[in-house]
Symmetry: C2
Subunit: 252 residues, 2 copies
DNA sequence: CGTGAATTTGACTGACATCAACTCAGGTGG
DNA sequence: CCACCTGAGTTGATGTCAGTCAAATTCACG
């Protein structure tokens, strides 16, 4: 187990999490926050299934596929998306290393969304049946697992808020700020990072068109909020971006 | 324990659930689907805390309040809503008897949304610490609890789909169809029911204005899809409504 | 009944979508 | 090395769906 990451910001609260990771996989999200003893940690390590590489554009699981495992992202980025009855996609989230995929499939034993790698990525498979047995034995792990599912619920609620009553500018600022804080939590720069997703995917996620995203990027650039070069982004005025996110910025 | 409800439709799959309910409370959602033995059922009954009445317009819990219990709705209807940084509300869901409230609070031990009764209602308090102990002992209950949390995740994903890429007409049809199937699952009429929420609350939930909702109701009425009288609604052409929901209806 | 709140309806407006043309980056092959 | 190609992204002109504003109507309740 190696010390690695500083702290994780959960909407509203900052918790000390992700401080180390398993030797087997980067499962910060399952191993860590609850101070498991060494023996417990071993048991957890043992149920972690095979690692799996997913190439850029590759699919980790599809809607309707039987659910057997959760997936912890070791490396890379994913998007999850739903397919409407009329065939339209809706991106429901972007996931990065240290996050857990597949929790929506527990309800019916089938996946409810597709998960696609945005770049060459690697995941750890966690057979859910094994995990369940462990959960029954390890209250701390159980509690943490519940926190993770709950966190996914609150994440989605924020997206509902975003889609339901924010304007385009506010949505986009919120998106940038969210990415920024997630990279920061992982020990990366909060002000400089690469967008792993296309403008189209961002637009789809935010309920906007690709043209709108492009215009918003230009606007933010012009206003000195961002430096943009292709998918490389630098936040020049994080405070103001946060203000826009919060709807406290009326001039933009 | 009394036999009561037929079956519950989860998006995509129909599962036999909710077949009976506890004597203590109408906790279909926790007691039922996993064939608990009588002894287990007793233990579950014992941890159910006091019943609590919430009058119309009353608040069950507020954003930021410490999390101690989940709440099973015995009777009545609730709405949950978030408050934006700039004070705007966003309704994140409408809940009815047999549904569980408060799961979003597990992640940080604080509530992330407000829950307000839409009519005089009654809930059972389920102290989460007691529930956790039970979960460790009863694998079937544990599995079911996970299903419920997962179901909330998929529910929210559908709302994201709705807000992210449906048109007003489609959103509203989806809303009506969703209510209809939930009432049907509870043994009530699928074609005739009361809207417990105001036009404003519907609009807020669907990312539309109260005027738009009003116009949509009128439109559906004119097209012979609905009969509407105040908050009383009758579905005259459920099949066509479902078609609109699915985006398969281009004439509307 | 009467009063205020909720809802409906209509006219107008605006934010974002759509359509279309153009630019640019990165890869391929001559 | 450069011409070409392709797909991603940008920018501008125009259209439209739903929002805003305002007034009329209905409903709920004392």
């Amino acid at each position: 187990m190696t010390i690695e990451l500083p702290s994780l910001t959960i909407p509203g609260v900052t918790v000390e999490v992700l401080r180390a990771k398993c030797a087997t996989c980067s499962m910060h999200q399952l191993c860590l926050p609850m101070g498991l003893g060494a023996a417990d940690m071993d048991r957890l390590d043992q149920i972690i299934g095979r690692r799996r590489k997913v190439p850029r554009g590759g699919t980790l699981f599809r809607i309707g596929a039987p659910f057997t495992s959760l997936y912890a992202i070791r490396l890379g980025h994913f998007k999850t998306y739903q397919i409407n009855a009329d065939g339209a996609e809706q991106v429901t989230g972007f996931q990065m290393a240290g996050e857990l995929l597949g929790m929506d499939a527990i309800s019916t034993d089938r996946h409810h969304c597709n998960a696609m790698a945005l770049e060459d990525s690697e995941v750890c498979e966690i057979p859910f049946s094994s995990l369940q047995q462990l959960l029954a034995d390890m209250p701390a792990l159980l509690r943490h697992f519940h926190r993770m599912m709950s966190q996914e619920i609150t994440r989605e609620q924020s997206v509902m808020l975003l889609l339901g009553n924010m304007q385009a500018t506010q949505r986009f600022a919120a998106f940038i700020v969210n990415l920024s804080s997630r990279y920061e939590a992982r020990g990366y720069s909060a002000t400089q990072f690469q967008l792993r997703m296309s403008r189209e995917e961002i637009g789809n996620y935010l309920g906007l068109t690709i043209e709108s995203i492009s215009r918003l990027l230009s606007k933010f650039k012009k206003e000195g909020l961002l430096r943009v070069s292709n998918r490389e982004i630098e936040l020049l005025d994080p405070a103001r971006l946060k203000a826009i996110t919060a709807g406290m910025d009326r001039c933009g």
